[in-house]
């Protein structure tokens, strides 16, 4: 058949592309490795952090990836908890992205610690009044819940694959079934029930603890008036959902283009519409928050906003956060038929994924610029080269884990693969 030859050429093209992709990732990892070496050799001196601005790029990336994870997870619950039609297709992908994002986020936390050798201390000593202490535990629990969900979601296909495939994939699939190889309707029902249960545990966990809590981390720091607002955790959640949706939409289109998966235009449109809705919600909340802050004329707020809008990194607000994060997706997706065009949805997704990085930087850094007491030095911070390099490497690591995952795991439900 004609489709056969078409697929063969696609496969060859695909193989080349794949090779190039891995080469690129390894190159980025090597660059990141150099950054990591500088970080290890010089300690935090390799950064542009100071006692005035103790939190910088790595903290921004950390909350960014936690947000991405929470967002992607919430997308997955649309399928397994809220049973929105057609979302099943992207459920596992969303869960897997959520897990990888958490790994990336925690790697950023690790490199940011003054004493990396003591990463385990929060599990040995606790402090019930510390949001961070709770967060660390919530993250651990969250990763367990996510993995559990992915397991129950994939198990049927893992069993099928381990039976059909003798190679590496089959063996890995066999291991991942954890020995539960039954595929009776009854056992599948158990899987679905547990999936839903975990999803229901996961929703409050992701919203209240993992991401709302990460927002709280900042909001409770009463010393920084820019953060000290109850709207802050809420905005954390909305922008998390926005970034998670953007990434899932982008990946959905990309994987359909690169692989041989059919694109469901209705699903695409539904995702795009939801996505636009959340962008609008997120932007409105931020505008409200800014209004109240600036209106107060409180120096902590006003200075922070001035820094954001006119400071050294003004572009991260105007170009990245507002331009890429809000305006671009709204322009690209404002017409119904545009929301059905994969290329436009993917572009909007990519733009927002980048835009929210700006949002995160604008949360972390500006609040620390204004000194706590009159007469103390004013803060100054732009990330140093090692900080950028290592960040690049850690992100590349995440992408690599994701890529390998897509190759080895049945992330696309069987029966919906078109072969």
């Amino acid at each position: 058949m004609s489709t056969n030859t078409h697929e063969t050429t696609a496969a060859i093209g695909g193989r080349r592309l794949r090779f190039a992709w891995y080469v690129l990732l390894v190159a980025l990892l090597a660059i990141g490795g150099y950054g990591g070496y500088l970080r290890l050799a010089e300690g935090l001196r390799a950064t542009n952090l100071s006692s005035t601005v103790p939190w910088g790029a790595w903290v921004a990336f950390y909350i960014y990836f936690v947000g991405l994870s929470a967002g992607a997870f919430l997308v997955s619950t649309l399928s397994n908890v809220f049973e929105v039609d057609g979302m099943h297709e992207i459920e596992r992908e969303a869960l897997f992205v959520a897990i990888v994002s958490m790994i990336v986020a925690l790697t950023f936390v690790l490199v940011d610690l003054g004493r990396m050798d003591r990463l385990w201390h929060p599990f040995a000593w606790r402090q019930p009044l510390s949001v961070l202490s709770w967060e660390v535990h919530a993250y651990a629990l969250y990763i367990i819940v996510l993995s559990g969900e992915l397991y129950f979601s994939m198990r049927r296909d893992l069993v099928a694959r381990s039976e059909a495939d003798d190679g590496l994939r089959g063996r890995i699939a066999g291991l991942l079934t954890l020995g539960r190889t039954e595929t009776s309707e009854e056992s599948l029902e158990t899987d679905r029930t547990w999936l839903k249960r975990l999803g229901m545990v996961g929703i409050p966990l992701a919203i209240v603890f993992v991401h709302g809590g990460t927002g709280n981390l900042f909001a409770v720091a009463a010393a920084r008036s820019y953060w000290f607002s109850a709207l802050f955790p809420v905005i954390f959640i909305t922008s998390a959902v926005v970034s998670g949706m953007a990434l899932i939409a982008l990946l959905y289109v990309l994987r359909a283009r690169l692989g041989s998966r059919a694109l469901d235009t209705d699903l695409l449109e539904r995702m795009a519409a939801l996505f636009v809705g959340f962008v609008v919600l997120d932007a409105s909340l931020k505008v409200l928050e800014a209004f109240v802050g600036i209106y107060s004329l409180h120096p902590g707020h006003v200075e922070s906003w001035l820094t954001i809008m006119t400071g050294e990194m003004w572009w991260s607000f105007w170009v990245v956060m507002v331009g890429l994060g809000w305006i671009a997706p709204l322009v690209l997706l404002h017409r119904r038929d545009w929301r059905r065009r994969p290329a436009l949805v993917a572009a909007a997704g990519a733009s927002v994924v980048l835009g929210v990085i700006g949002t995160r930087f604008n949360i972390v850094v500006p609040a620390q610029i204004e000194p706590a007491l009159y007469g103390l030095p004013t803060g100054y911070y732009v990330p140093s080269t090692p900080e950028w390099l290592l960040s690049l490497g850690i992100v590349a690591l995440g992408v690599l884990i994701y890529t390998i995952g897509t190759e080895l795991l049945p992330l696309v439900p069987r029966g919906e693969i078109h072969d």
Partner: protein, 360 residues
């Protein structure tokens, strides 16, 4: 180079420590020696009052001086007198520990000291013991009590009218706590107000406030920073993971991260002693051990408080602008000053209730 060496010349030397001391200093020493001689008693007369052999006493004393001058080794001394002393002093001699012989560092251990009824040990332990006994006495005398017990609540009062902004406190603190570059437990903030000709300038020294409700303690995920009963907020360098959450939570920017920088070659032993503020020497900083990678801050010179001394900044203050004491003791200066109408705390609305008070 030669200039700096010349500048080193007039440094005081330890009398008699080296042979080639200048004439002047020897004359100087002699005059003191004479003063001492006036007070000295005749050893022979004194020893004859005892029941022990006078000649042995004199002989031992003379040789003891030779030991201290370094002409005779301590081991040789005891070899010479051990038998004589044993016969002369009997059981008393045998049972009394002899630090010079028993222990390498020439000290006796605490237990022995206790049995002998003499207070020895490090300054800190002596002060702690004294404080404990004082506190016990206090607790007894304060039967009604404003009550919550033995610990003082250390507080500081800084009189802004007396502060001249000389930053001696900042320097004294650096010297006392050997803080590395970028870490300064104390700073003096300057504020100029008004327009010419009505201009006023206020200097506000800022140590850590040792808040009664410290946000830094509240946020620390591993309880590495904690509030002590005596009011001081401390940091456990062995537990702190360096997340710097406490730094963003402190409303006074009183915390500093130790990036591991050193005053390389700027003074002798720079970077040698790593955390004297907790009475610990953690070896050379170059090894990157804690407190490198930790957060650091003022702790009211806790090591000095322990041995009954004021913090270095208080002791050094040129204008006598700083007071240190127990805020709970109604007789103390700080208690009185902190309740005067001039007193205020920084950022009172934060609700942190600092133990550092300022006088307007």
């Amino acid at each position: 180079m030669s200039e700096s060496e010349a500048a080193d010349e007039p440094m005081p030397t330890i009398p008699g420590s080296s042979g080639d001391d200048s004439e002047d200093s020897e004359d100087f020493d002699d005059s003191y020696d004479e003063m001492v001689d006036v007070e000295a008693t005749d050893p022979r007369v004194e020893l004859e009052k005892t029941t022990y052999r006078t000649d042995l006493g004199i002989e031992m004393a003379e040789d003891a001086r030779r030991v201290s001058r370094g002409e005779l080794s301590s081991a040789a001394y005891w070899e010479k007198y051990d038998d004589d002393a044993a016969t002369e002093f009997g059981d008393d001699y045998r049972e009394t520990p002899n630090p010079a012989v028993d222990r390498d560092d020439g000290t006796i251990d605490e237990e022995t000291a206790e049995t002998l009824g003499c207070s020895v040990g490090s300054m800190a332990s002596v002060a702690a013991a004294l404080e404990a006994s004082e506190n016990a006495a206090d607790a007894e005398s304060k039967s009604d009590g404003d009550g919550d017990g033995d610990d003082p609540r250390w507080g500081m009062v800084i009189d802004l009218q007396k502060c001249v902004g000389c930053e001696s406190c900042t320097v004294a603190c650096k010297a006392e706590n050997r803080t590395p570059p970028g870490v300064s437990y104390n700073v003096v903030l300057e504020r100029e107000e008004g327009e010419y000709p009505n201009v006023s300038r206020t200097n506000v020294p800022r140590p850590c406030m040792q808040c009664e409700k410290p946000p830094c303690v509240q946020v620390c995920p591993v309880s590495a920073t904690y509030k002590m009963d005596n009011g001081v907020v401390n940091i456990d360098y062995d537990r702190c993971i360096g997340c710097r959450y406490c730094m963003v939570a402190c409303p006074y920017d009183a915390r500093y991260f130790d990036f591991g920088e050193n005053y390389d070659g700027e003074f002798d032993e720079g970077g040698e002693v790593t955390s004297p503020e907790y009475g610990t020497d953690r070896g050379p900083r170059e090894d990157g051990e804690s407190p490198v990678g930790n957060v650091r801050k003022c702790n009211f010179c806790h090591h000095r408080l322990e041995r009954g001394e004021e913090p270095a900044c208080v002791e050094t203050c040129v204008g006598d602008a700083r007071y240190m004491g127990d805020l709970e003791d109604t007789d103390s200066d700080v208690n009185e000053l902190a309740s005067s109408s001039r007193a205020f705390q920084l950022k009172e609305k934060e609700g942190t209730d600092p133990n550092v008070y300022y006088l307007k």
